[in-house]
């Protein structure tokens, strides 16, 4: 999992962006609210003016606003809201939405057909499967239940049985929203439980010992049977005391190990361990040095194809054109056998946070790049050096390692290590000599083989102060799914207050879809602004498609046609960009599943950000729904 710059932001950084307020979520929210108010008033006034004339229309709008502020909102009664929510809940249940849970279970039953049993990391595949399956199912469900309810009531006129009662429009909207959220929650819980068991049981497997050889000194080495498309080798340590059980550990294959236990000459292989993890990483800041040792912001680019996207984090700044470039972390490489290195500076390195006497756990996911064949049999060599950020003279001797690509290599930074303090070589103490009083530590990674390269990015090397349980992490991912569901329900209810059921559904669906394709829209706009041919907007793409032109060639049409195409395309893309920017960033929320799947604890700040964004959109949708419903009531 390679994290992007915005993933490292704390909640406040995200909300306020102290260095560049234009990119902040708060500003985005404020703009959205102002826009909603202005647009709302304008549309409200136009409608009212059409109905009652210009001056009367003005008073109607003013009255509606006053009603909301003075009566409806303060007068909203929790009791009535809960009664309406109960109704919505019952209605949804009556419409047999629980079938979705059954559908999910059927999906799980047949999942084995499509999940590759030979995957090198089955845990990741299983977790991402259950989370994405749940996510899409729940969003689909939210879409259906939220959009059909109010239009159906209006059509069958049952809404009048409610509005004629002393119920406020706020209560109707809120009741619906909360009722549907209740239904969704009710369904999410069994799905989460089923997912947990699906993953844990799906990964469970047994091996038998098929081969064992005596290494002497009471130590043994052995091999397990080949099950679930893999086998392990293991070593047994001698028993602690004669007659007691001896224990051993297998090697890590497909992300897990087994404990081997020997009782009375019989070997028992335990359950897989280590497959389902939730590491809590502590990331540092990263800078590189080039071959001459000069500091560089980025490492060497070895020419890998770049991933697309990474515009979303710039918020309003990008929309108004203040920022253009995508913000992405790519893997930077360091040249081996030179002064090239990657320097990570970690903060908050304290004995209290890393109490383990064996040392601080450091985990690395490095990539190797060879510019020459070199020694094929051995992997590339690298080294880790610890250095005091305040005094570059104090540094440890290098700890060497062989790179393990596409796997997380675990190293320990020992509490005491040989090194130099600038004057002499001696045993350095980690927390006293290498860590600064304010808890900072530099970890320098180098490639040792000349003409070869090691690559990393800011999220690929980290300290691991703790680990939480997988179950809790899964719960957090479900929390994220829940938030997305709330968002979709709020939008669904909002659209259903003025559109018919199917249209409201399509509208909500388009919003979700726009949220998911936002990055592609931003990308198209980026190339448009830059004036670079990259396929262009919808019209240009269509022309290219029909003419079978490549996307990077200049569009071969005459000047006038070109002008027309460009203008229409800019109109479409700029509008789409504005809409997509104002919509919730669902793919970002969906990506929390990636954390759980890759075995990382979902950051609290990330969930908090999503929760605040959801709340914001929820409130906005609620207020808009209220006014629309109010308008319809007036019309009725």
């Amino acid at each position: 999992m390679t994290l992007q710059p915005e993933d490292f932001w704390s909640f406040t950084q995200w909300l306020l962006r102290p260095q560049s307020f234009l990119e902040s979520a708060l500003l985005q929210g404020i703009v959205l609210v102002i826009l909603a108010i202005v647009l709302g008033l304008l549309v409200g006034y136009i409608i009212s003016a059409a109905r009652y004339g210009p001056s009367e229309g003005f008073y109607a709008v003013a009255r509606a606003v006053r009603d909301f502020v003075r009566f409806d909102f303060p007068g909203t009664s929790p009791r009535r809201v809960s009664a309406l929510a109960r109704l919505a809940f019952k209605e949804a249940i009556r419409r047999k939405v629980l079938v979705v849970v059954a559908l999910f279970v059927v999906g799980l039953l047949f999942a084995g057909w499509y999940l590759d049993p030979r995957s090198s990391d089955p845990a990741r595949l299983y977790i991402s499967f259950v989370l994405t399956a749940t996510n899409y199912l729940i969003l689909l469900l939210a879409l259906f239940i939220s959009t059909f309810s109010i239009p159906a009531d209006i059509k069958s006129k049952t809404i009048y049985t409610i509005v004629t009662k002393p119920v406020r429009a706020t209560e109707i909207v809120l009741g619906r929203m909360l009722g549907f959220i209740g239904v969704g929650t009710l369904m999410l819980v069994p799905m989460a439980v089923a997912s947990y068991f699906f993953v844990t049981r799906g990964l469970r497997h047994d091996h038998e010992v098929v081969d064992i050889t005596d290494l002497g000194n009471g130590r043994f080495e052995g091999k397990t049977s080949y099950d679930q498309y893999h086998e392990h080798t293991f070593t047994m340590d001698p028993a602690a005391e004669p007659g007691a059980d001896a224990f051993g550990l297998t090697d890590a294959v497909r992300g897990h190990r087994h404990v081997v236990r020997e009782t009375d000459g019989k070997y028992l292989i335990g359950e897989p361990t280590g497959a389902l993890r939730a590491r809590v990483p502590s990331y540092g800041t990263l800078v590189f040095t080039d071959r001459a040792g000069n500091l560089q912001e980025a490492g060497i680019d070895v020419g890998n194809e770049k991933a697309r996207g990474g515009y979303g984090s710039s918020g309003v700044a990008r929309l108004i054109g203040a920022t253009r470039e995508a913000r992405r972390y790519e893997h930077g490489y360091m040249e081996g056998g030179t002064l090239g290195s990657a320097i990570f500076t970690f903060s908050d390195v304290t004995p209290a946070r890393y109490p383990d006497e064996e040392g601080i756990p450091l985990e690395m996911g490095l990539r190797a790049f060879r510019s020459i064949k070199g020694d094929i049999v051995s992997g590339l060599n690298g080294s880790i050096t610890l250095r005091n950020p305040d005094s570059n003279q104090i540094e440890s001797s290098p700890i060497t390692f062989v790179v393990q690509e596409y796997d997380i290599a675990e190293e320990r930074l020992p509490r005491q290590i040989e090194g130099t303090d600038g004057t002499e070589t001696r045993l350095l103490t980690l927390f006293d000599d290498l860590v600064t009083p304010d808890g900072r530590l530099e970890v320098i990674i180098r490639c040792l083989d000349s003409e070869q390269y090691l690559g990393t990015s800011a999220s690929n090397v980290y300290l691991r102060p703790a680990e939480t349980s997988f179950a809790w992490n899964l719960t957090k991912s479900y929390g994220s799914i829940w938030l997305q569901m709330v968002m979709v329900i709020a939008f669904g209810v909002m659209f259903s207050t003025f559109l018919s059921g199917p249209v409201a559904m399509v509208a909500t669906f388009v919003c979700v879809l726009l949220g998911f394709t936002a990055e592609s829209i931003y990308d198209i706009r980026y190339y448009m602004d830059k004036g670079e041919a990259m396929g262009g907007g919808p019209v240009e793409s269509l022309v290219r498609l029909l003419r079978q032109d490549a996307m990077t060639t200049q569009l071969d049409v005459d000047n006038v046609a070109n002008k027309v195409i460009q203008t229409v395309d800019s109109g479409i893309i700029y509008s789409l960009d504005a809409i997509a920017t104002s919509l919730p960033n669902l793919p970002k929320m969906l990506s929390t599943a990636e954390y759980a799947a890759s075995g990382f604890d979902i950051f609290g700040s990330l969930l908090a950000r999503h929760a605040v964004a959801t709340l914001g959109y929820f409130v906005l949708a609620f207020v808009i729904s209220y006014f629309i419903l109010k308008t319809r009531e007036i019309a009725a």
Binding site: W113, Y226, A307, L380, E405
Partner: protein, 548 residues
Amino acid sequence: MNRSTGFRNKLIYLAILIAMLIPLYLLGQPAGGGTGDAGGRLTQMRTDFNIAESELGEINPASETMKLASLGLRGVAATLLWGKAHDYRVHHEWDRLKATLNNIALLQPHYERVWEFQAHNLAYNVSSEFDDYRQRYAMVREGTEFLTKGVQQNRKAPRLVWYTGWFYGQKLGMSDEKKQFRRLFADDDVLHEALRQHNIAVDSPEARGADNKPDNWLVGRLWLYHGYDLVDAGVKIRNQTPINFFETGPKWRIKAAEAMESEGVLDDRARAAWQQASDDWQSLGRRSIPTTSTFTIKLGALEELQRERQEALDELLEIAGETREQERQILLDSLNDAERLAWETPPAERTEAQTNLAYQLTYRLEPSLASVARKAPAPVRLRAIELAAAIEDLDARIQKTEGHRNQINYEYWLTLTLAEQEERTVEARRLLFEAEQANAAADLDLAIRKYEEAFALWAEVFDDYPVLTLDEVSDDLMKSIRRYTIAMDQETFPDDFPLLQFVELMQNEYRSSEEYERLRNLQREKLREKEEAQLEAERSTSADADSL
């Protein structure tokens, strides 16, 4: 609209629905299984074009469900998945890439190119992204297994089978890390078991290398021959030329022998391997290979064709008598003055224009055999026309055969297999190998002695098989010669250095096509001489026996 009209409308709709279902039912009716009941038109067409699911390959329930679940949007789903697969590649998410490829294959199990493209992607592009050669091997294996799945689902796709064989040979046996790959493959019991299940006889001597473990080239060869069996059973080769398709199997046996020798097996086992390689290559010469013309050819039948042509020509000229000369005279008479002058001027005195003209006239003045036959005396005219047509046909066959032989360098490989199975060649290789080992161990005296023995033998081998100077061995030999000069601490070669001519050849950028042609002709003569000598010897032995 009142109730009754509504009801009536419903009835009309129902009737239309049923009416539309009837032709569908008739068209799609399944075959009854009995004789004469071939089913509806659709069923018949399915059978005719061999596109019934059960005909194409193993039926995979997962695949069928997925196709059904995509509700006819299979193409869209597959396109999205292709995009996703590409993204995963960019993000180095190999595991997910594999999972996505599996899903694409489930959606479109009968698109041969998908299997081919993505298997290649895994085995060649993705595998090279790993630093650890074992991971690289695992990815190559993923690629080949992916392809094997494709083979299972496409029973009538010989190219997929061929490609599988190609992977086992080319990717495992010719990569930078071939030594490691070949070792890992030989010890990969799990893969061997999987291969057994695909009816690849990994336990047979046909698949086992010098260490009695499965050899990647030979296993690849078994796959290829499996494909040949398919084609022999009547399945058409698509998207590939037959010559390319049929050449690889025998070639893999040659590669197996080469690999064996390069790994230091230089004894009777190597000779046996070369003997088998030679047999395989000659069997390729006996195989009927379809061409773009209406006839098939046999690569090994070139001399036979040439002999037949000569016989036919001799007969035609004999029965035609004077006709050919008369025809030529007619052509000569038709020349204009300038042409006649050019033709009649002795070559040494011609101007440049005349030389060119005369050159063109050589062809123009040769009467075609067909015209000779048509003008032949009446009693033999029919026979002459027959013969002329036969010669024309033989010419076409000879041309095709020669073209195909050149395309795959048939003669070169034939000679190579003949040369390599000789004890002397194996001995020459062994000596060179030992010399290299001694040199690496800094035992210079031994190395020099072995080098000299090896060079003397190589000189003999080259004398008999000059075409071998084009082989890879010549590069290795050249490197050995350089090491020998370093060991000897001398820069020039003595006059009696056995490989002097070879060194000059190598230094003279000899690899021109003319030089190659010359070497090939030389080789042909040598072989002919050898054969004649052998015949002579046999004749004299039998004469001796008779006289006794």
